[in-house]
Structures are given as C-alpha cells and as structure tokens.
C-alpha cells in the first residue's frame, strides 16, 4: 500500500511544494501573505493537475493489462475445454469399441472352490490291495475336489461347464458337468416353467444328490447316495421347471453315472434310465421354508458276459508236496463264451427339508431322505448284479436324517445319521445253516465348521458301523472303521 502510493507523491516532492518561506530574492520586496498563499495555491493546482494526468495514464495502463490478461485467460480456457472434449470423445469411442468386442462376456460367470482333506481312518493300513495294487493307507492329505465352474445366462439359453481335479486315486482332471438349457420363459424369479437340458448333469433324484458340494456342511454324501448314485452326474436329457411352489424334473440318462466302476458315463445297453422328481418348495412364513418331494427311477442294469477260453493243462498239487505226482496234471477243456444280459432295476425315494431362521442365531435346517431300490447298487461296496447272484434280486434300503445349525455368521455345526443296506435278503452260513444276516452300514457324522465368505475349515468325526468283521466266534461283527477328517476349503 505504501509502495503503491509512492509514484503519486513523487511529483509533489520533486517540485518543492513544501519549500521554506525564506526562499526569496534579496532585491525583491518580500511578498505579502496573500501573494504567498496565492503562489502556494497555484503550485498546488499545478501539481494536482499533473497528478491527475499521471493517474489517468496509469489507470489506462492497468486497464490495458487487465484486458490483455482476460483475453489470454479466455484463450487458455478455450484450449483446455477443446482438449477435454476431444479426450472424452476418444474415450467414448474406445468404450464403444470395447463393448462391441466383449459382447460375448455378458451373462458369463466364473467360480470355483478347492477342498483339501487330512484324514485319519481306523481301517488304514500300510499295505497294498492285493487285487488292485492300490495303497490301503488312508491317513493322508488328499485334494478331494478342485472345481472350476463357468456359467452363462443368455435369457432363453443357459449353460454350464465344470471341471474337477482331485488326487483321490492319483492326480486326475475330468469334465464333471457340461450342460445346455433352453428355458421358457427365459427370465424371471425362480425356476422357469419349462427347462430342457442336454448334456452331463446331476441325476434328479432326491435332495442330497442334487445338493452342491460347496453348500453341503458334511464332507461327503450319505452312503446310500454314494452307492446308488455314484458320482451324481450322468449323460442324458432333462425336462425340469417349476410353477409357483411346485417343482418337477424328468430325465432320460445312460444309467451309468460318472462314479460307476465298469462303464462310467458310457452305456453298455440301449435301454436308458428314466429318473424323475416332483415336489414342493415354498416359504411357510418369513422365518420358515419347507421343501419335500418324491423321486423315482426305472432302468436296466448290465451284466457282463465272458469270453471263450482255450483248452489247457493244469498242475494241481493235490497233496501239497510241491512235486508233480501221478494224477496231478489234468486237462482243462475249453469253455464257451457267455452272453451279456440286462436286468431290471428301480428306485423310489422321498425327501423332506425344513429351514427355520432364528433371529440372532441363524438358520436351523433339518432334512432327511429315504430310498428303496432294487438292483441299483453301483458304488464301491456292493455292486448289485442279480445275474451273478444266482438270479436273486438285491433289494437296497437307505435313509438318513440330518440337522444343521448356524451359530452366528461364522460357525456351523451339524449331526447326521445315515443307514444303507445293500442287500436286505442277505444270509450268512452259520453252523451249516443259512441264517438271515445284515450287510448294512451306519454312520453317525459329527461336524463343525468355521466359515467366512472366502472359505471354510471343517472338522468331521464319522462313527462308522458295519458287518464286515468277524468276532472270535466267527460271527459277523463291526470292522473298526471310524474316521476323522479335517478339511480346508477356499472358494471364489
């Protein structure tokens, strides 16, 4: 402020406007007071005029400078706005191009999970299976499931492809689920009215078979599900859908599920298995959900024939002396081939599920299932083959009930009892008499899990009961086979 005022005061100071009154020539008469006042006024007027001129000049300069500054600022703003507009136009063009090239990704989703187990089992042994050469040790780390699943939803058409890797019987990678569905109507909440699916998909029987492995708390399905529907997936076509609370599914499949031992996902006979389920699924109240259904299966199994054999000579060491003696070398005649045969099989089932949501605690889920079957055992325990069983059918019975309780957001506990009898008509030779016996398996499973959205840590103890052992009197008894498993699961 003071510096700014200095140019305005400088003319006054330079012209001696404030000179002393004694500055007068000696020969002149001293001016009068009036004259001095007039002179001072004249000087002041002159200085004021000069200052006014100077002020006007500087004001003009400032105005010119301001006008120049504003012009430049406007030019700069115009340049910037033009550049931003150009950049926005270019980005919009690039986005349109990207969207056009990635149109196929719309409706596509990718997910998966991996389950690694540490198991300890009573029946484990550091030996090999004599017939298969496979290790009998079951106390080990095992990659039980490593799934990668992709799904696509294009309204009218949906599809899924799921790959599974595991090390259960050594490292393997396989296609587990590959299906395409045409559905009508194409969109809407809940299932469509009609959905026609073709491919490799789960057998629509009961609840547990179609339950996802990533949702189930218990490490494995019940023994009945494992034995009657090993692997859960089979090739075929399915019509499924729902209307309001009604659900239905009807499938025609090869009848050789992916976990079957002899011809997995192939079909040795031309008769297909027909499987179906009809049920209801509805909320009874805001806190209670209810689901139930009936299932059925009808199809034909396959008994393998045998090839013809050549004639030969066999040494039979009849007296166990490791020497060839008279009469111990015998001729064995050739044997003709035997044809393969089909046999009937069927199953009926019923399932029930109730979910009650308890405020502050979480959901309580109770569910159960029962299955009656004939000649359907296809798992690893007893393969149902009535042709090989002297023409006698094998009648199976399996059931389970389970209770799963959420404990807050991060904990879950459960209890399940399951029963499976692969042959309800089995007998045992005791004291030269055939007496009724049981080949059933029973399991109490106790499980607890800690869970977060990215995965779970599950501990399960299985109290297994069977009739595979013999007591010291030679009578059937339980063969110790309890198991403890710790599972770590990650998902995305």
């Amino acid at each position: 402020m003071w510096l700014g005022a200095a140019p305005l005061l400088s003319p006054l100071l330079s012209r001696g406007a404030f000179a002393q009154s004694g500055d007068v020539a000696p020969d002149q008469a001293p001016p009068t007071e009036a004259q001095r006042a007039e002179a001072v006024a004249a000087k002041a007027a002159s200085a004021t005029a000069e200052l006014t001129v100077e002020l006007a000049r500087q004001t003009g300069e400032v105005a010119a400078l301001r006008a120049d500054f504003e012009r430049r600022l406007r030019e700069e703003q115009d340049k910037r706005e033009a550049a931003i507009a150009a950049e926005r136009e270019r980005a919009d063009a690039a986005l349109k191009e990207t969207r056009a090239s990635m149109a196929w990704i719309q409706g596509l989703s990718l997910g998966g999970f991996a389950q690694t187990d540490l198991s300890v089992r009573q029946s484990s042994s550091d030996q090999l299976n004599n017939s298969t050469g496979e290790p009998l040790n079951q106390n080990r780390f095992v990659l039980r499931r490593a799934r990668l699943r992709t799904e696509i939803d294009r309204g009218l058409v949906t599809g899924a492809l799921e790959l599974d890797g595991n090390t259960v019987n050594g490292p393997q990678m396989r296609v587990l689920n590959a299906e395409g569905t045409l559905r009508i109507p194409p969109v809407g909440a809940g299932p469509s009215l009609f959905g026609l699916t073709v491919g490799l998909f789960k057998i629509p029987f009961g609840w547990e078979v179609i339950q996802s492995d990533r949702d189930r708390l218990f490490l494995e399905r019940s023994i009945a599900a494992q034995e009657l529907f090993p692997g859960e997936y089979d090739l075929g076509a399915r019509l499924a859908g729902g209307w309001r609370y009604i659900r239905y599914a009807l499938a025609v499949q090869n009848g050789e599920p992916i976990g079957e031992k002899t011809f997995p996902v192939r079909d040795p006979n031309n008769v297909k298995d027909v499987t179906g389920r009809v049920g209801v699924e509805t909320p009874l109240s805001p806190a209670v959900d209810f689901a139930a259904g009936f299932s059925g299966l009808k199809g034909k199994g396959f008994h393998k024939g045998t090839a013809a054999t050549k004639a030969g000579i066999v040494w039979n060491d009849r007296n166990d002396n490791s020497s060839v003696d008279a009469g111990e070398i015998v001729a064995v005649s050739a044997k003709s081939a035997t044809p393969s045969q089909n046999f009937d099989r069927h199953a009926l089932g019923a399932d029930l599920r109730v979910v009650v949501r308890v405020p502050g605690l979480g959901a309580t889920t109770a569910y159960g299932e029962v299955t009656w079957a004939k000649n359907l055992g296809r798992g690893s325990r007893t393969i149902a083959d009535p042709v090989a069983n002297s023409g006698q059918d094998l009648r199976e019975l399996g059931y389970y009930f389970a209770l799963v309780q959420d404990v807050g957001r991060f904990l879950q506990v459960g209890l399940r009892y399951d029963f499976y009898d692969p042959n309800r008509d089995s007998t045992d030779l005791q004291q030269a008499r055939q007496v009724p016996s049981s080949q059933s398996y029973q399991t109490w499973a106790f499980v607890a899990a800690a869970r977060i959205p990215a995965g779970r840590l599950i501990a399960e103890y299985d109290l297994n009961r069977n009739h595979n052992g013999r007591d010291s009197a030679g009578l059937p008894t339980n063969l110790a086979d309890n198991a403890f498993t710790l599972r770590a699961e990650v998902r995305f």
Binding site: S125, N321, S322, Q430, Q431, Y461, R470, S472, A473, L479
Partner: protein, 302 residues
C-alpha cells in the same frame, strides 16, 4: 461329571469292533479271513464237556516257506461256529467260520487256504486249531506239527537270482563247455547241452541229466507269475573254468525299479561272499537283450 464322561465314551466306542488290520505281515496269511492280533493261547487248557472239539487234517504235513494255497481243513463239533487257526509264534491268528456238515461224522467241516511267509520261525513249526462256540467259548487247542521243507535249489551248484518287484529280469551264466569253448545258459538257451552235429548221436540220458539248466523264466514278457526268482542249476559237478553271471533287465513291466540279489550255492550251502545285490532301473532296459547281454554281476573261477 456326566459331561466329562462323554469323551471317554466316544473314545471307547471308537475302539470297538474287529481289528481292521489285514494280517499281511504275519507268518501265516489266510485271505478273506478275519485277523485277530495276538497268538492263540496254547497253554491254558480249554474246553469242557460241552466245548467244541476240532480235528485238523492236512494233505501234507510239510510247509514250504513262501508257499501259497496250502490247504488247512478238518472238522469241528456241531456246536462250533468257527475255528481259530494260528501259527505258533506268530503275531496273530485267524477266524475261519465252519461250513457244511460232514455226512460221515455229522460234524461241521472247515477248509481254507493259507499262505506262508518266505521266512518262518525255526523248527519245530506247529499250527494251533481251536473250535469256538457261538458264545465265544473255545474248546481245547489242537497243535499240529509241520516240517519245514527246504527252499534252497537242489543241485551240485546253483546260481540263484531273485528280485523284489514284478519286473522281468533274466539270469544269464556264461560257462566253460567240456570242449574248451564257452556257452551261455539263459532265457534263450536254457541248457548247457550242445546240439549234436548232423550225423552225430543224440545226447545220452546221463548227459541230459548232468547238463546245467535254467529252471524258469519268471515274469517272462511281463506275464506276471509272482515268483521273481530264476536259478541256473548244475545237477552234476560243474566243469572247471571261468563263470560269468549277468543280470539282464528285459523289462520293468511298469515298475519304477527292481532290487535284485544274486547267490552262489554249492551243495545246498551259500558260498561265503557270493551274495551280490544291485538295482535295475529304466536305463537298464534300453540295451540289447541277446547273448552276452546284461550287467555283469558275479565272476568266479572253479
């Protein structure tokens, strides 16, 4: 207090049931039968008037170590449900349920096939049999003695090769012939007999009997017989000279490796320092398999 007892109950429940061990490591093995750890009590006299009695029989009271499929059979009292069978000195015994009725005696029969480990306890060898009633009450233990048959190859001299996995290994021995030349006995030429020249007489029976021979081509062409042993046997005194023994790895038949052992036996006794061992790997299968093939394992002079 009640809560504290739960873990104990779970633990006890977990331990119930028949032993899941398959008894593979025991001296005597009965496939399909229940194995019970612990030897049969042969000291405590069992039985009583109502106790089941067992009467074991065998086709041959001799056991060859390493043999399989030896029949153990007999009869037991009509109140028996099973027969316990155990080799004395073994780490466990086996439960064999009784079968049909013996029409001549009215008793119940039992029959099973037993396998024996290559190494058995020193003689005397005995197998204990005990019939058991439905209530678990056992009858008197019957001890049946067995003699141990020799497993050593019989002959004046034997070169023996055995190995541990189901691979196809071949034993080859290059030896001096009576005319001063050398001859190889192996899978391609299994005897030291030289075919006579045209017009010459055929070898005599004595010459045939005295010729060295290879007893068996084990796991030939990967047709697995499980024997895993080959011997070159000299029934008569071998010709003096230099003997070269080779081990030819024809195929590992899918196995990762085969550990083999070579022995020289004279008159039933192993020659001191003659045991040679080695390992066949995949690289050993890549060489030729004709005459003179294989890794040189043993050289000796007679």
């Amino acid at each position: 207090m009640r809560w504290a007892s739960i873990p104990v109950c779970v633990w006890l429940t977990a331990c119930s049931g028949a032993d899941p061990g398959n008894g593979v490591g025991s001296y005597m093995y009965i496939q399909g039968a229940q194995f019970i750890p612990g030897a049969l009590d042969t000291q405590t006299p069992g039985g009583g008037a109502a106790s089941p009695v067992v009467l074991p029989t065998s086709l041959n009271y001799s056991i060859t170590p390493g043999t399989t499929g030896k029949t153990l059979a007999g009869t037991a009292g009509t109140d028996a449900t099973a027969v316990l069978i155990g080799l004395v000195g073994d780490r466990g015994h086996w439960v064999v349920p009784v079968g049909s009725v013996d029409q001549s005696t009215g008793n119940l029969t039992f029959s099973t096939k037993a396998s024996f480990a290559p190494t058995l306890p020193p003689p005397p060898v005995a197998i204990a049999f005990q019939a058991v009633a439905r209530d678990g009450h056992g009858g008197p233990v019957q001890l049946q003695s067995f003699s141990l048959a020799s497993t050593a190859p019989q002959g004046e001299m034997v070169v023996s090769l055995d190995w541990d996995t189901e691979a196809d290994l071949d034993l080859r021995v290059t030896m001096p012939a009576a005319d001063g030349s050398t001859i190889e006995v192996g899978t391609r030429k299994r005897t030291s007999l030289v075919p006579p020249a045209p017009g010459d007489p055929a070898p005599s029976d004595e010459q045939v009997q005295a010729a060295a021979y290879l007893d068996m081509d084990s796991n030939a062409q990967c047709v697995i017989d499980g024997r895993r042993q080959e011997n070159v046997v000299w029934p008569a005194t071998p010709v003096p000279g230099l003997y070269v023994v080779r081990v030819d790895t024809f195929s590992l038949c899918g196995e990762a490796a085969a550990h083999w052992r070579l022995r020289l036996v004279r008159n039933g006794e192993e020659v001191n320092g003659s045991i040679v061992s080695g390992q066949s790997n995949d690289v050993d299968t890549r060489f030729a398999h004709g005459a003179g093939a294989g890794a040189q394992a043993l050289v000796f002079q007679l």
